[in-house]
Amino acid sequence: EAGVTQSPTHLIKTRGQQATLRCSPISGHTSVYWYQQALGLGLQFLLWYDEGEERNRGNFPPRFSGRQFPNYSSELNVNALELEDSALYLCASSLAPGLGYGYTFGSGTRLTVV
């Protein structure tokens, strides 16, 4: 079974530009989660999508947004990039929201803003 796949692996952008990160969940998984791991800040919850809808978001500004497609894959968009957006962005999927389902993470996209 293929795991959670993320693309690109690395992304370098200039301040002010937009970045688009992609995630394909494990087949059959309907929930997709995005996390940011910035240096020294640990893993912080960004967004949760399920069945095409945004279910929850963390404490991030509106320039962090995303969507989930009918095939359950997801995109994370970061507009007006700032230097502090440089981080590892991890995507995870689970079979369904709620009790009893673990999370599986992808390998991440390392975003560098210069």
Binding site: S31, Y33, L43, R55, N56, Y103, G106
Partner: protein, 108 residues
């Protein structure tokens, strides 16, 4: 929100040694997972363990939900065990909270 504390924050082990990592959480949780983040950043699921004890090779984990803690045991450590170990708890409306991690370095 829920607080997740991991200890010790940093651990240096001689290859072959055993160790115990601890995760304390401040409130009732629905589920708990242990992850290993390798040097390339990938988070690998080790255990999905809301309660009880599980073993997988040289690793085992125990969660005592009533006392709000979980332990991860590494036996006969190898250099490939190096990395950061994260405890994550699932609570409320499908929220996942991570601890700050245990940085483990195994030296040959």
């Amino acid at each position: 929100g829920i607080q997740v504390e991991q200890s010790p924050p940093d651990l240096i082990l001689q290859e072959g040694a055993n160790s115990t990592l601890r995760c304390n959480f401040s409130d009732s949780v629905n589920n708990l997972q242990w992850f290993h983040q390798n040097p390339w950043g990938q988070l690998i699921n080790l255990f999905y363990i809301p309660s009880g004890t599980k073993q997988n090779g040289r690793l085992s984990a125990t969660t005592v939900a009533t006392e709000r803690y979980s332990l991860l045991y590494i036996s006969s450590s190898q250099t490939t065990d190096s990395g950061v170990y994260f405890c994550a708890v699932q609570y409320g409306n499908n929220r996942l909270a991570f601890g700050k991690g245990n940085q483990v370095v195994v030296i040959p």
